[in-house]
């Protein structure tokens, strides 16, 4: 696996990754790269992060045996409970790591983009804890869909900025955050929320999220006495998925499944399935699979889940896809919604709509495994933020 290590030190994953940004950002990204490479070997930094993950985030998160799902699919299905993290999703793992990094670099101001609002809440939380100023960019369409998270960010002291340009979703929030950053490079760190964007973000975010897979691997070995046949996660930018996959990359017997948002159907613009309808390109600082038209314009996406509603996928996923190490499936809005209701009713867990996509692909994945095969699914977030939207779609007044 030296090839992989070489690829990531250069910020490249096969043909993907890299650093495609205006010149003003190059010195800043190099500064982050240097600081990160120093701090990841720094015992005090690692200890501080580990303590916060334990005492503040609530790690390790549980690995829960899903009895009803297991009986139905006749496979042994375990849920990695990132929904139990403080703030309700895996996003806090990265937000805290990067906020500590920013503090170590002497940056007093934090900006971030958010789609579903989970990364915005996680970043606002980390900033409140560490006493950093915080501004969150969010598309106005996403603010409508995720109203409770907008208010949570305000309660946490963050300044929210609605983005009304373009498609008013995650990609436009990223553009606006990048514009803010090029204007304030001296005092500001941009906490990018997924394993996306220019180097070193895809590597750094993956490292901060890989705690998920390290815990899950240890937990499943303890619970089952063997490695799982498959691990499954939803893939927007792909940080929860790469965080889970990473610990299993060198276990060739473990199949890796990523699940993209199939939206309303296969027509370009109606989904966010980059491996199914996207083509290699460069978007927001990184080379990867991008949903774009024949003229290289990035197209709008659709997903019921704001957190998966993004036109590109993290470059390491693009590389895992090309190398065949991971397989990527799609799950439609309707399948995700059904899985959302199902998990709530049969396991007593309300999943995030993002995570519901991983659940909604079990019917495609389970037949690939032997009877009683073991599967670990990353329940990346809880669904509290989605309740109003699901009720609206279901025509119910909560």
């Amino acid at each position: 696996m030296t090839g992989r290590r070489q690829a990531s030190t250069a910020g490249r994953f096969g043909d993907h990754g890299g650093c495609y940004v205006p010149e003003t950002l190059i010195p800043v990204l190099e500064e982050i790269d240097r600081a990160y490479r120093r701090l990841r070997r720094d015992r005090a930094f690692a200890g501080r992060l580990r303590d916060l993950l334990r005492s503040y985030v609530g790690r390790p998160t549980a690995l829960t045996y899903a009895g009803a799902l297991s009986r139905r699919w006749q496979r042994r299905i375990w849920l990695k409970r990132e929904d139990l993290c403080h703030t309700g999703a895996h996003k806090i793992n990265n937000a805290l790591g990067q906020a500590l990094l920013a503090q170590a670099m002497g940056k007093q101001r934090i900006i971030a983009e958010t789609g579903a609002g989970q990364h915005g809440v996680a970043t606002a939380t980390a900033c409140a804890l560490l006493g950093l100023r915080c501004r969150i960019y969010m598309g106005t369409e996403d603010m409508r869909r995720q109203a409770p998270n907008v208010y949570r960010m305000r309660l946490l002291g963050a300044e929210g900025e609605g983005v009304d340009s373009g498609t008013r979703t995650l990609k436009d929030a990223v553009n606006e955050a990048l514009r803010d950053w090029v204007a304030h490079v001296d005092d500001t760190h941009y906490i990018l929320g997924s394993a996306l964007g220019p180097h070193p973000f895809p590597t750094m975010v993956r490292d901060f999220q890989s705690v998920i897979g390290r815990e899950a691997r240890r937990q499943i070995l303890a619970a089952e006495g063997c490695l799982p046949q498959a691990v499954v996660a939803c893939v927007g930018g792909g940080s929860n998925a790469i965080g889970l996959f990473h610990a299993f990359l060198r276990d060739p017997q473990v199949a890796l499944y990523g699940v993209e948002a199939g939206g309303r159907g296969p027509t370009l613009g109606e989904h966010a399935a980059r491996f199914d309808g996207g083509r290699p390109g460069v978007f927001q600082g990184t080379a990867s699979y991008v949903l774009q038209d024949d003229d290289g314009q990035v197209v709008g996406t659709h997903s019921i889940s704001a957190g998966l509603d993004y036109a590109a996928v993290g470059p390491e996923h693009a590389w895992l896809h090309d190398s065949g190490r991971a397989r990527y499936l799609r799950c439609s809005d309707a399948q995700a919604l059904a899985a959302f209701h199902d998990l709530a009713a049969c396991e007593g867990i309300i999943p995030a709509l993002e995570s519901s996509h991983a659940l909604g692909a079990l019917d495609q994945i389970c037949p690939q495994l032997p009877q009683d095969g073991v599967l670990v699914l990353n329940l990346s977030g809880r669904g509290d933020k989605d309740i109003a939207e699901v009720a609206r779609i279901s025509g119910v007044t909560p």
């Binding site: 890299g18 650093c19 495609y20 940004v21 205006p22 010149e23 003003t24 190059i26 010195p27 800043v28 340009s165 373009g166 990609k171 436009d172 990223v174 553009n175 990048l178 514009r179 090029v182 204007a183 304030h184 490079v185 001296d186 083509r279 290699p280 390109g281 460069v282 978007f283 927001q284 600082g285 991008v290 774009q292 024949d294 003229d295 290289g296 314009q297 990035v298 197209v299």
Partner: protein, 269 residues
Amino acid sequence: MNRIDATMQALAATGRKAFVAYITAGDPDLERSEAIIAALAEAGVDIIELGFPYSDPMADGPVIQAAGERALAAGTTVPGILAMVARLRRRTQVPLLAFTYINPLLRYGVERFVSDAAAAGLDGILPLDLPPEQDRGLASAATAAGLALVRLVAPNTVPARRRTLARSSSGFIYYVCRYGVTGERSALPEDLAEQVADLRRHAGGVPVCIGFGIASPQQAAAAAAIGDGAVVGSHLVQLVAEHRQDPQVAAIVADRAAALAAAVHEVAR
């Protein structure tokens, strides 16, 4: 010789500085854009940067973002822009520089783009989000086709990198004189002269044009006095936005450009 090099040399020979105008290609549509560009050339603009509209212009402020949205809504494509350039070449020999994000070029095919751009009569490419270490075959293709490759240098670009960027630039070096996105600002940065003097030490004789935030004739003249030329973009694009329904839009934009060009040309070396 490449038209950009020829223009910069001719200006230098007569002791003058370059006035560079940015305009978004296809704004408000290709037909009116063509008229605006032709009028700019007649108004004494030395080099025209043609902004290629892109869905996600992360380095641009609201004015140029909106121009790109108008151009895309009007159906502007890369082949459409190249066809417009070919038509313009029957009317004017003003140097034309493609100011573009990289993804539309990757989709078109970098080598194919360079060859079609040269055939259409473009003189150079300024890739906004393609640092030299990424490249994607652009530098060698541009060299082979005789197109200039203009690189950006920012205030925070470290000395070693200034040298790398300057050595891989041709035509001119675009000095981004301030942090932030494109758009008008009230004053030039105080350390501009120092910054440009430093950049010149690394530039190996490649001319330095200064842009980002320059709007008034006074600012343009002040920037041109320090560098080899000044770039004005958002200010002209805003005029296009305000007068796009007016049949005289090309003349209105050209009048303003003429005033800017005159101010720059009055600056002596």
